[in-house]
């Protein structure tokens, strides 16, 4: 397994959210389906488990990777967008102390790499850096970083250019004394004397040098190496290390005749003199030789000093020029001429005065070592350019003349110092080097980067640490994201007029103004997610953030794997049909709409449409988007869930609307096939007025008038219709995400044609690979109840295989015996938590702590940064023992999340865990009253006073345990009961299976095959054989349940076992109900009167026995005994029965006519394929309405069936040899059983589960489980899954030898009880009973602890432990103390 990092330590994170507050990166919020933004440091939703935050980091942003200094560009750009300039600047300075300089002269490799550049234009990163640097200068106050305490060591830096300055800055931050030695009379190196003022104004450089000096860095001017000091003398002066940042100031000579003539000078020297104010115009007509920045700078400086004509000679073309494009552009604007493909041959002079230069034309030849085309002379093309001044600027190298014998440094090619590329250490261990002295003439940002790295090496040297360890960068630039951002032009800074500016040294390029800067910064795509700006690390007081985390590979030894990788919603933008999705904002997916309805969603549940935030008056749902659609998206299956969720959304939308809301659901078939779903649909249609339109919309238009959508569709009679809606919801289906399919393939699991995990129909959670199980929608599209059921089924299947290993890897916690505190004076300890700044930032924690000490019974108070942290918990244990505390109050956060932690701490000290109370001064105080700190502090005191008052009244509540009878009783011996019995037995527990019939098998005995073709009878035979032969299963046939008592873990069921009718008592810990259902016996359509009228089950049996050779036409009628007034629900299985039998008929004889008269075809999930097949094979489907059912007449030649065809709009009559009625299901035997066992049932008589969605196989009574058709109509495969689920749930109970009972239960004071029966009647669970003494008694094993009886009891004879009246009133009185 590879685990991707969270970048947050789960053990330390307190979920305070400070990281998210400071995080500058906004990302699309997946939880709100992209309708809102979240931070890169985030918690997906408030109730997320685990509650800790996480950081989304896809890798490193290309800008950061491209930057030699590794600045978190994305970080500061986004901070600028948010107007957080001070923090933006601090982020830059983490890696580069020269933001104002680099904001002007940086070569910005970041911009070339910028992902936005692939969309339109890169972000103007350099301009943004300049903007924010100047913002600080304009503020007039340097925001100096904190430096570490001073250290005794001092370090010498030689050279005050960008490398030297950067090195000095980062050493100073470490508290190290730094002296910079500068040979020139001014500081700044090439920044000062190489870059002309019009590009880098001296005041800017001065500011940044002053900034560094403000940290204590000393700069000694006019101090040249080899001239005024040596490396040896530095060592003698006590410098522990030296950083050589000499730069490259030596100009290369042209090697051309006449170069020594007066008037010909090196460009670098010319620029230096100009910067020092010592230069004059080099001539009236000046030629500059070279194509680099020095050439351009020399040319433009010459212009500014008064030269009239300046011509640059470059031997290649403009494409090869190393100078920055923008500088070339600016130079040309100012009037500099550039001659390409020419080289000087010799300088011409007379009397020592320069007259001109003879040049020769060049042409480009084969590429040279640098990859650029090598220029070659064109013989005979010489000509002369007149000039009285010439500047040679063809390159520089470090000037190493200063190195004497004492500086025994290795020198590499091009006169550069040779150093280790990672640590920058030279051949002398204490000497490091960086910048141009190492790189040759390079960029400012490279020099800064090396200066910084050299400084970091020096720190390691001084610390005695390894210089190299962990410094290799493993950065990975993320790919440019596939985003559909609107193209937006880059903001450009103003430029001075070319004519004006060419005459002065004033700055050429101006700054972006604030508005432009923020707009420009907002263009950032935040392509890497987390920008690694590290603000979260500074904000996290719990020190939980760890950006160093890397993916972790793990090897787990397991006996079973369960695949629950789920589905993703269909993505309508990729369909061929134009739903206007992504084009019209008022077309949303159902998931987006779900978020719009959610109280926790982007609109806090206010129903508004995205385009104008107005409440819609008409909403349409389009069903089957991405489902039942082989043409457009290839998803031929039905997604099973969309019809129900669309109805739900329509109902919820109507609730949220402030005015009449029209809801229309466009559907082909309405598939409300689940338990009680049909009733829900009827309520929506008949009571709430939701419209259901039987049609698939074919065209959607934007309505330009109001931004809505017009839908064109054909009504059921084929008429063209058009209707306008304010909002359209696409009911998107489910599909397997590619990564889920890939995972399954890696695990060697077979997939079906739609990439769901392939399973056998009668083994629904087993994949093709033994030991690998599957559950949920990755097995096939399904709803929550079915998914939860399958989850338990998979757990059962896995546990069956792993039964011998149960408890083998469990560890238990040893706790000391509990101390007796009854009768002792309360000694309360109060611990107040600061929760970093979550509480302490609003509430005055020391004040609350002081106040707590004044309260009665309080003998100890303390506060802590995070009271829940491991170390504070240890301290708390000591304090509890030291002060002999017998009650503990923690004033911090919510007991929902933290009570168990503190209770464990009490328990570890021998205190009963109920001697604990929390005051929630965070969630209920500091978080919600941030603007009122004084009042919040008062409230915190109130809450602490209430908690202390209650704590003093608390009593120890010992937890009792009861033994568990590790045997299950299964009622019902059909497929479900048999499967459940086997599931429990294979996990190692005994089972008693009771069946009222003489044989096992139930209704499934009458079934032939599943729609997929699996033989049900063969499966049943195997099942019966395995159950009958199982050593842990006892089967009792002809057995009836007559009496039932007890509670989970300890039930007693009395049965009568026939034919002898003897009574027997069975003790068991769990109960599984699998009493099944039967087929409805129709009274309609001549059933029972004419032998040619059969049910579908009978038809299947007939086909198996007699075949279809004698048949020419068969009619089927759906929904017989279902979906009518008598039985409103859908029987779920009948549509597939009809399709299955129709296919069998067509297989037997393709000429045979099959007519299916239906209301909605409900072949949900993957069964839709069979419906498609049936139509392809010529089965005819006709829809009818409940109000106009088909008519059947018997005649000797056959049955005559008449019905109305909707499309043709006229009656049709067909002759049939057989009429098959799709008779619904009816529950069996739940009447009597439910009264004996006190079981809840729904209106149809099916057993009612504890929670429809989340506890689909649990009954409300604990320890009782339900499965199979006793729960509701379902297919055999679904019954098997539910039976396995019930067995799995039962085993979670049976696997425990004893159960801990919660002591928070009600108890009766018999002295006060008047046996009035109020408690007996008011208990929702029927627990209290009047005992033999004639008073009420409450079984603590059954009591759920709601306290309703205690509140109802007129004699106040009942108290609920931990919530006794005194304990509640102590809080009331504590709160209101002194008010009256």
């Amino acid at each position: 397994m590879r685990q991707y990092p969270r970048f947050v330590d789960l053990a330390k994170c307190t979920a305070c959210g400070e990281c998210a507050k400071v995080c500058p990166i906004g990302l699309s919020n997946e939880y709100d389906a992209g309708l809102s933004l979240r931070r890169a440091a985030y918690k997906r939703y408030p109730q997320a488990i685990p509650g800790a935050y996480a950081i989304s980091k896809l890798g490193q942003s290309p800008c950061k990777v491209a930057c030699p200094a590794g600045i978190s560009v994305q970080g500061y750009v986004n901070l600028i967008a948010a107007g957080r300039y001070r923090e933006a600047l601090a982020v830059i300075r983490q890696e580069n102390p020269l933001p104002a300089v680099c904001g002007r002269v940086c070569t910005h490799p970041c911009e070339a790499a910028c992902a936005r550049g692939k969309l339109d234009e890169p972000i103007a990163i350099r301009d943004l850096k300049r903007f924010v640097a100047e913002w600080e200068i304009a503020q007039g106050e340097m925001d100096l970083p904190e430096t570490k305490p001073p250290r005794p060591e001092k370090v010498a830096i030689i050279g005050s250019g960008p490398a030297g300055l950067a090195a000095a800055y980062y050493l100073a931050l470490e508290g190290i004394g730094v002296t910079i030695f500068e040979a020139l009379p001014v500081a700044g190196g090439m920044l000062r004397v190489g870059i002309p003022d019009y590009r880098l104004p001296p005041r800017i450089l001065d500011y940044e040098i002053d900034y560094i000096k403000a940290l204590g860095v000393e700069i000694r001017l006019d101090a040249g190496l080899g001239r005024d000091f040596t490396l040896a003398s530095l060592q003698e002066e006590g410098y522990k290390a030296v950083i050589m940042a000499l730069g490259a100031h030596h100009c290369l000579s042209l090697g051309v005749e006449g170069e020594q003539t007066a008037g010909v000078q090196p460009g670098v020297e010319f620029l230096r003199r100009a910067a020092l104010g010592q230069a004059q115009a080099p001539g009236q007509r000046v030629v500059v030789v070279g194509g680099g920045n020095v050439a351009l700078d020399s040319a433009r400086t010459a212009l500014r000093l008064g030269s009239e004509e300046v011509t640059i000679l470059y031997r290649r073309t403009r494409a090869e020029m190393p100078a920055y494009e923008e500088e070339t552009e600016e130079a040309l604007e100012e009037g500099v001429k550039i001659e390409y493909l020419v080289a000087p041959k010799r300088f011409l002079s007379q009397n020592g005065r320069l007259l001109g230069v003879e040049v020769i034309r060049m042409e480009l030849g084969a590429p040279d070592a640098s990859g650029r085309a090598r220029p070659q002379e064109i013989p005979g093309s010489e000509y002369v350019i007149e000039a009285d001044g010439a500047l040679a600027a063809i390159g520089q190298e470090p000037d190493l003349a200063c190195l004497d014998q004492t500086c025994n440094l290795q020198v590499g090619p091009k006169h550069c110092l040779q150093v280790d590329p990672l640590t920058l250490q030279s051949s002398l261990p204490h000497v490091f080097a960086g910048g141009d002295a190492v790189l040759g003439p390079a960029t400012v940002i490279q020099a800064v980067a090396q200066g910084k790295e050299a400084a970091r090496s020096v720190v390691r040297l001084l610390d005695g640490a390894d210089l190299a360890q962990g410094r290799q960068k493993d950065w990975q630039a993320v790919e440019a994201p596939q985003v559909k951002a609107k193209p937006q032009a880059r903001r450009r800074p103003p430029q001075a007029d070319p004519v004006e500016r060419a005459r002065s040294f004033g700055e050429v390029v101006g700054p972006l103004d604030e508005e432009a800067a923020r707009a420009e910064a907002s263009r950032c795509l935040a392509c890497a997610g987390c920008a690694e700006c590290m603000l979260c690390m500074q904000a996290c007081l719990a020190e939980a953030i760890d950006h160093g985390q890397r993916p972790r590979e793990q090897r787990l030894q397991v006996g079973s794997v369960i695949l629950a990788s789920g589905c993703r919603p269909f993505q309508p933008q990729f369909t061929g049909l134009d739903y206007r999705y992504g084009l019209n904002p008022n077309v949303v997916t159902s998931l987006e709409f779900e978020r719009l309805l959610s109280p926790g969603g982007p609109t806090q549940g206010h129903l508004v449409r995205p385009s104008d935030h107005q409440e819609p008056k008409k909403i349409a749902w389009l069903q089957c988007v991405g489902s039942r659609d082989l043409n457009q998206c290839g998803n031929g299956y039905c997604s099973s869930v969309c019809c129900m969720y669309a109805i739900k959304q329509a109902l919820v939308a109507k609730e949220h609307a402030h005015q009449d809301l029209d809801c229309a659901i466009f559907n082909m078939d309405l598939r409300t096939f689940g338990k009680d779903y049909e009733r829900y649909f009827l309520r929506a249609r008949d009571q709430e007025g939701v419209r259901f339109i039987k049609s698939r919309a074919h065209t959607l238009w934007d309505d330009p008038a109001d931004g809505g959508v017009r839908i064109e569709y054909a009504s059921s009679d084929g008429q063209a219709q058009e209707e306008a809606f304010d909002l359209v919801v696409l009911s998107v289906g489910l599909e397997v995400a590619p990564e889920a399919a890939e995972l399954a393939e890696r695990l060697g699991v077979e997939l079906d044609r739609y990439r769901f995990a392939a399973t056998e129909p009668l083994a629904p959670v087993a994949t093709s690979r033994p030991g690998v199980l599957v559950c949920g929608s990755f097995q096939g599209p399904k709803d929550i109840p079915s998914s939860v059921t399958e989850a338990s089924a998979a757990a059962c299947a896995a546990a069956g295989q792993l039964a011998p290993a149960r408890w083998s890897a469990t560890r238990s916690l040893e706790v000391p015996p509990e101390l007796e505190v009854a009768g002792q004076e309360p000694r309360v300890g109060v611990f107040v938590c600061k929760c970093g700044i979550n509480i302490a930032g609003v509430v005055d924690v020391p004040e609350v702590t002081r106040y707590a000490a004044t309260l009665p019974h309080v003998v100890h108070t303390d506060n802590g940064l995070f009271v829940c942290s491991q170390d504070v918990q240890e301290q708390m244990k000591q304090k509890i023992k030291e002060h002999r505390l017998n009650r503990v109050v923690v004033a911090s956060c919510s007991p929902k999340t933290h009570e168990p932690i503190f209770m464990d701490t009490l328990r570890a000290c021998g205190l009963n865990k109920y001697l604990f109370e929390m005051a929630n001064i965070r969630n209920q105080d500091s978080w919600v009253h941030q603007g009122e700190p004084a009042k919040a502090t008062d409230k915190a005191k109130d809450l602490v006073r209430m908690a202390v008052a209650r704590a003093a009244t608390l009593k120890a509540l010992p937890e009792k345990t009861v033994g568990v009878n590790q045997r299950a009783l299964v009622v019902g011996g059909g497929v479900a009961g048999l499967t459940a019995a086997l599931g429990v037995a294979e996990q190692g527990f005994e089972v008693v299976l009771v069946e009222k019939e003489p044989q096992l098998g139930g209704f499934a005995r009458r079934l032939t095959a599943t729609i997929e073709g699996a033989d049900i009878n063969a499966h049943l035979d195997r099942l019966v054989e395995r159950v009958s032969g199982h050593e842990r299963i006892q089967v009792l046939t002809q057995t009836l349940v007559v009496k039932f008592s007890g509670f989970r873990g300890n039930f007693t069921t009395e049965v009568i076992v026939g034919p002898g009718m003897y009574e027997r008592k069975i003790n068991h810990g769990a109960l599984i109900l699998a009493t099944g259902a039967g087929e409805y016996q129709p009274s309609e359509y001549l059933y029972g009167q004419d032998p040619r009228v059969l049910t579908q089950v009978e038809l299947a049996q007939r086909l198996r026995e007699k075949g279809a050779g004698d048949l020419r036409a068969v009619v089927m009628i759906q929904c017989v005994g279902s979906r009518n007034d008598e039985c409103p629900n859908c029987s779920r299985i009948c549509c597939q029965s009809a399709v299955k039998n129709a296919l069998h008929l067509k297989e037997a004889d393709p000429e045979l006519q099959v007519y299916v008269l239906y209301r909605d075809i409900r072949t949900y999930g993957l069964m839709e394929d069979y419906y498609t097949q049936a139509r392809q094979k010529g089965v005819l489907f006709f829809r009818f309405d409940l109000e106009q059912p088909p008519q059947v007449e018997a005649a000797p030649e056959g049955l005559r069936v008449s019905f109305l065809d909707h499309v043709l709009g006229r009656p049709i009559s067909v002759r049939a040899d057989l009429l098959a009625l799709s008779a619904g299901m009816r529950p069996q035997d739940t009447d009597e059983l439910s009264s004996i066992m006190k079981l809840a049932r729904n209106q149809d008589g099916y057993l009612l589960e504890a929670h429809v969605k989340l506890r689909p196989v649990d009954m409300a009574s604990e320890g009782v489980y339900v499965c199979g058709t006793a729960h509701g109509p379902k297919l055999v495969g679904e019954s098997i899954a539910q039976a396995q689920a019930a067995a799995g749930r039962a085993a979670t109970l049976l696997s425990q030898t004893e159960l801990a009972l919660s002591p928070v239960t009600s108890r009766v004071d018999p002295e006060r009880c008047a046996a009035c029966l109020v408690c007996v009647l008011s208990c929702p669970y029927g627990v209290p009973r009047i005992n033999q003494e004639g008073v009420s008694e409450i079984d603590e094993a059954l009591c759920r602890g709601c306290g309703i009886c205690a509140a109802e009891c007129p004699a106040k004879a009942i108290q609920l432990n931990w919530y006794e009246d005194d304990q509640i009133l102590s809080q009331v009185e504590g709160l209101l103390e002194g008010v009256m």
Binding site: G931, M946, C1346, G1347, L1375
Partner: protein, 129 residues
């Protein structure tokens, strides 16, 4: 969600609103509370099936009694929400707060203050979740 709500609400935790006794509510007024409200599950979705119905009845009973003694029945209210509805919780707190501010302090508190010749201390109402 950290939605702010009026600062004078104090929450007392009970397992179910069905546990709240008339005595608890009345004691609060006797001791000077200006208002009490109960916040329970949505009707029909009580975690303990019917506790919130009983709570509503008890609130109605308290309203009648407080009305009769002149304290004012409106000072007690019952609210319902689901655990995911933080905005509603804040909204109820605001509603209740506005209601109580409009009603003014608990008359019993004023009477006591007048009797003792002291100014009534400002105090909060309390909610029960």
């Amino acid at each position: 969600m950290r939605l702010s709500y009026p600062v004078h609400v104090r929450v007392i935790r009970v397992p179910c609103t069905g546990k709240v006794d008339l005595v608890h509510i009345l004691r609060a007024f006797e001791k000077g509370a200006d208002g009490v409200y109960l916040v329970g599950c949505m009707e029909g979705s009580c975690h303990y099936e019917q506790g919130n119905f009983r709570a509503r009845k008890r609130v109605e009973q308290a309203q009648r009694l407080l009305e009769a003694v002149g304290t004012g029945g409106e000072r007690v209210q019952m609210y319902n929400l689901t655990s995911g509805e933080a905005p509603k919780f804040a909204q109820y707190a605001r509603e209740m707060s506005e209601r109580i501010l409009a009603l003014g302090p608990n008359p019993a508190k004023l009477a006591a203050a007048a009797g003792q010749g002291q100014a009534a201390q400002g105090s909060g109402k309390k909610g029960v979740a």
